[in-house]
Symmetry: C2
DNA sequence: CTGAAAGCGCTTACAG
DNA sequence: CTGAAAGCGCTTACAG
């Protein structure tokens, strides 16, 4: 492999000088510069960024930890992150926990050993081990989607999005509203969205039957199963609407309702969260909340880049959202 | 930052010995090993993989180049790659060309300078500059989805998938079949799928009207627009079916047809390729081809890992596929 | 079983 | 304007 030393020899200069023209800093005579550049091109020399990074303590790599890459939410976020960092010539080192909590912690350590310049974490839960691991990280660190104590976090407004959704359903005359959520290990999706739902209904004084509350695991199938349970267990007190905390599970719920001959929205209205592409093209089109995932990713990347330039206070940013009314209500 | 030297001092041994216990090779007395391990844990020492990589010439990182991360195809492939490489403790360095051909070449060079151990490319086109750039790469290199000369390639069976689809439509009685493709700069999606369509129809002796041929740019909207043009320009010779080379464009085409009051499939049948999640949940559900993208990603990763262990001949692998018949036909 | 030394490919004060 | 030297944090023959 060609190294800076080879180039130096071929150009009859020191590697110091080669380094100067490569990085475009320091004085180099025009003549020498040209000679070196020509040799670099002829040889197809590619500098070793590992060596550079060892020396400069900067890698130009951002570590990203996501729960699953093959979901629309995650891929939008990653796309947003990439757009921003690529402009500054950073790349993404991608790690996928496959929903394994333990791996979130492992990957935080791994990314440090790989000398990334900063880390963006899309967490799915909060626990003490995770938090203490993050405290020890000396790199810029951004949490996206979960409010991690002591960490700069970009948050979706889960609580208010849920409240708005319930308000909208109530304004349409619904009083019996069921709920399909996820595990409460997930503070944002599992706890906050549920709290918004419960609080909003409580405000109106509408009761929530136990049989109307089910949880899934983010998959379409689990939405289908949850809906089935709700219908089976509700006897004559069927809900007239169901609030599902993700679009995918909402699609599953719709699927079950359709199979059973319920009309949507006449018999049961269905709403989700996420503004997936699918939500727009299913029939009836799904009422949902757009969280602007890509923009959230961009924001996370921008914050990280800023922190790279100067240490900043830890802050919390709440993203805006938009309720999209469609035909499922 | 703690380094191997710090650990060595604290343990009263040489850094050679520390390296030995860290990498678990060479003889170290049990007593010394324990002492070192304890100190490593106490200090939370994280070895520098950049330094290690500079020395060993191996980074444990696989470079992946994709045209867009926020598409289902790409994210499935990346997920498949990740599953396989993560098991061997490799990570993915992700680069997204955003459909910019020039960036494919830039990123190949960049990944080399970052000393990745191998590269997987999802190309969208083939050109001389790209090919010559790849020839110069001395790392294991896999192309996924395009047949690059002289490069180990994993291919979808675009030609036969298209032929099968047309055969199926013909068997349902269709003789007037329109086509929505993409730019022929893309040999796999643009050329092969179109060739399959044309050849199959020619075999039956069915004519193809010019007004039945349109192209899009992979987006849902472009499918909508292409369908619109076909309908507008076909006057009284409307097709009874349309073969769209991607699911997303097919969804757009369905959208337009529905808006115009065409019944699917009674007035016009629609088929796609890709087996997107959406294809299953739109109404009517879309007949499509499953390319098993995730498995293709896994296969690519396995091949790369094998090549890492031993140089291999360049080979071509054609993936299997499955036609999924649904209600849009 | 253990250590001293060389070296991976760079950058950066420092000196001239 | 240019170069010699030191050093980033590791691993690996080699010697003992």
């Amino acid at each position: 492999m060609t190294t800076i030393n080879d180039i130096a020899k071929m150009a009859n200069v020191s590697r110091t000088t080669v380094s100067r023209v490569l990085n475009n800093n320091g004085y180099v005579s025009e003549e020498v510069r040209k000679r070196i550049i020509q040799i670099v091109e002829e040889t197809g020399y590619i500098p070793s960024l590992s060596a550079k990074s060892l020396r400069t303590k900067k890698s130009g790599v951002i570590g990203v930890i996501i729960p699953r890459i093959d979901t629309e939410t995650a891929s939008r976020v990653v796309s947003g992150i990439n757009e921003v960092v690529a402009k500054e010539n950073f790349q993404i080192l991608l790690t996928d926990t496959e929903l394994d909590k333990q791996k979130e912690i492992e990957y935080i350590r791994l990314l440090q050993s790989r000398h990334v310049d900063g880390i963006i974490l899309l967490a799915t839960n909060i626990n003490d081990h995770l938090i203490s691991t993050i405290q020890d990280v000396e790199l810029p660190f951004i949490s996206l989607g979960q409010d991690l104590p002591g960490v700069t976090s970009i948050l979706y407004d889960d609580y208010h999005a849920a409240v708005d959704m319930i308000n909208m359903l109530v304004s349409k005359g619904h009083e019996r509203i069921a709920f399909i959520g996820v595990s409460e290990e997930d503070p944002s999706v599992g706890v906050l969205r549920k709290k918004g739902y419960l609080d909003a209904l409580a405000k109106y004084g509408y009761a929530v039957k136990d049989s109307w509350l089910e949880t899934g695991d983010f998959s379409i199938e689990s939405g289908y199963e949850a809906m089935k349970k709700i219908i089976k267990n509700s006897d004559k007190e069927l809900p007239t609407a169901v609030f599902v905390v993700t679009d995918r599970m909402a699609i599953g719920a719709m699927e079950y309702l359709r199979e059973q001959g319920f009309r949507i929205p006449e018999d049961v209205a269905v709403v989700g969260i996420g503004a997936s592409t699918m939500s727009q093209y299913v029939t009836p089109s799904l009422t949902t909340v757009d969280y602007f995932n890509k923009e959230a990713g961009q924001k996370a990347a921008q914050l990280l880049l800023e922190q790279l330039k100067q240490k900043k206070e830890k802050e919390k940013f709440v993203q805006t959202y938009r309720l999209i009314k469609r035909d499922s209500v």
